[in-house]
């Protein structure tokens, strides 16, 4: 079944077309990678799909229903959750409080019950704490659960960011450069976690510059250049694709 269907998505910033007629389909149980040189429009594409930017043209369908024009929080509540490149965590609170906040969509009692501190609220709060603990354990962050998120090293902050996206219980998770700034050991660990996410039935869509990660975890890759989709296929196909090589390294005529 097609979960996410993006149709001719376009956005103009003044005279610049940052994303130009990009179409893509996301099926259940897959890992889709989006790559491209700097400024190709990868993050802009994420912003368009997740509702942080309004497209100038084109449509996005979620399970056959049009979601273009919905607000970002509405899109998140459908189960389409994205992470950010920077500022991925709430820096001023502990890692576990970060997860607690991220479970917003799972709160079963309303705010008034919280203010009155009813029994069902307390039970719900306990359940949320347990759920948060499982997620922290899954991402192997339990040693840092009471550390302020802002004082965690970069790699751990990014991992916490993924854990927070997981806490939203997404059907599709959109990771914006999950391995950026990580050392080889850390990025190998992230690859392992992304595969585990995929095994759990979560569809992963990621933007990434680290080719080892992209080629290692993705079933399918889309290549963007100057806002346009120039190639789509399996990692092997992409590595041999002439247009992709040109986009990254330049064509022979240009070298002359």
């Amino acid at each position: 079944m097609v979960l996410l269907d993006v149709h001719d998505l376009t956005v103009n910033f003044g005279g610049l077309t940052a994303v130009n007629r990009v179409s893509l389909q996301l099926n259940e149980s897959s890992v889709l990678g989006i790559i491209g040189p700097n400024g190709a429009g990868k993050t802009t594409l994420f912003n368009l799909i997740s509702g942080f930017l309004k497209p100038s043209m084109g449509e996005v369908f979620w399970k056959g229903k049009k979601i273009t024009g919905l607000r970002s929080y509405q899109i998140a509540s459908l189960g389409l959750v994205r992470t950010f490149q920077s500022n991925v965590v709430y820096k001023d609170v502990t890692a576990s409080e970060n997860i607690m906040r991220s479970q917003y969509l799972h709160f079963k009692t309303n705010l008034l019950q919280g203010v009155l501190n009813t029994k069902s609220y307390q039970e719900d709060e306990e359940a949320m704490k347990k759920r948060a603990q499982t997620i922290i354990n899954f991402m192997e962050l339990s040693d840092w659960s009471s550390t302020l998120a802002g004082s965690l090293p970069h790699g751990l902050q990014r991992k916490l960011g993924i854990a927070m996206a997981m806490a939203c219980d997404p059907k599709v998770i959109m990771l914006d450069e999950p391995a950026s700034g990580m050392n080889p050991g850390e990025s190998a660990h992230i690859m392992h976690k992304i595969r585990q996410l995929s095994d759990r039935g979560i569809v992963v869509m990621l933007v990434e510059h680290d080719m080892k990660v992209v080629m290692g975890v993705c079933d399918r890759i889309i290549v963007l250049n100057h806002g346009q989709k120039i190639a789509e296929g399996s990692p092997d196909e992409i590595q041999k694709n002439q247009r992709v090589i040109e986009a990254y390294l330049g064509s022979e005529e240009m070298v002359l």
Binding site: Y73, F84, V89, R101, Y104, V115, L116, M164, A167
Partner: protein, 327 residues
């Protein structure tokens, strides 16, 4: 019936809770011991400021830096005064209506202006306070212009409290502050507070996790203004005369100064300490250098921000912090 005992049975919190009860007991004894109307009046004003500051801190949780809270105080005061004067309804009914009306104004205004972030919101809330004040000044037939409204009736007697001296007013405002404090404290400490803080810390992230930012901003704005309206209603029937300059820009700025000086770590302790201390200090100063209080307040604010970033409230926590450090 067992709940007061249960409340005291929480071993971790027992120290704080016994402390709160002793504090409330002292608060109730103060006017009996002081016996001086002037001192009681200062404390009454301190309590009114506390209500405003607590609401202001709640807004700060969402990153909303409001410079228009005195505007809402004024709306509460004028609406309550006019309701009682012209419709002849009881104060006890009017205070609630005034709170609800102020909340309604905040709700409608919030829907329009709460799309603004940071300084933009601060500037618009500042302008709002001025617009409201100018309406009182210029709509003379209804609001009485510069001289305002006078002859607002005092509250009807209730539970044996006859509002002829300062004392019953004191107990009424202590009660109102207590209710406001409990409600705002629970909001701040429960899930609502968690959501508010998430929005204040990183609104993009909060949004990506499904939180409807505008909804919670409007919600907190409405709640804070409801209590400001209640405080305003109290003020109208305490002074019995209200005029536009009581609810000016300087008062809105004072809310911010008092809360910051007190500290914003909790929604109750900091604002309470800041409001009462600064109100007392400003009264003392008035005796020595009338008209120069704003200068002093500025210096005091800067000093606190530099040397005591947690506010006066953090002085109380020194011992606790040291204990944590040692263990």
């Amino acid at each position: 019936m067992g709940w007061p005992l249960k409340w005291l049975n929480d071993k971790k919190e027992i120290g704080n809770r016994v402390g709160i009860i002793i504090f409330l007991f002292i608060v109730c004894l103060i006017p009996i011991v002081l016996r001086e109307d002037y001192y009681v009046h200062i404390l009454i004003m301190g309590a009114v400021w506390t209500i405003l500051c607590m609401g202001w801190v709640l807004l700060l949780r969402l990153g909303l830096f409001s410079l228009g809270q005195a505007g809402f105080l004024g709306i509460g005061a004028y609406s309550s005064g006019l309701l009682v004067l012209h419709l002849g309804i009881s104060f006890w009914f009017a205070i609630l209506l005034a709170g609800l009306f102020t909340a309604l104004v905040a709700f409608s205004l919030g829907i329009i202006i709460l799309r603004l972030r940071g300084l933009y919101f601060a500037v618009v809330s500042f302008a709002f306070g001025e617009v409201v004040r100018n309406i009182y000044l210029n709509w003379i037939s209804l609001f009485g212009g510069v001289s305002g409204i006078s002859g607002i009736p005092r509250p009807d007697p209730l539970f044996g409290l006859v509002f002829k001296s300062k004392m019953p007013y004191y107990y009424l405002i202590v009660f109102l502050t207590l209710v406001t404090g409990i409600v705002l404290y629970r909001i701040d400490q429960s899930r609502a507070g968690r959501i508010f803080r998430a929005i204040g810390h990183n609104s993009d992230l909060a949004q990506s996790q499904g939180m409807n930012i505008k909804k919670y901003k409007v919600m907190s704005f409405t709640i804070a203004s409801f209590f400001a309206g209640i405080a305003g209603s109290f003020l109208a029937h305490y002074y019995t005369t209200i005029y536009p300059d009581q609810f000016g820009v300087w008062d809105s700025i004072l809310v911010q100064i008092k809360a910051t000086v007190g500290g914003v770590a909790t929604v109750v302790a900091g604002p309470l300490i800041g409001a009462v201390v600064m109100t007392v200090v400003s009264e003392v100063l008035r005796g020595y250098m009338a008209g120069l209080e704003p200068l002093f307040f500025g210096v005091f604010l800067i000093a606190v921000v530099f040397f005591l970033p947690g506010g006066l409230e953090s002085l109380l926590n020194v011992r606790r912090v040291e204990k944590i450090k040692r263990t």
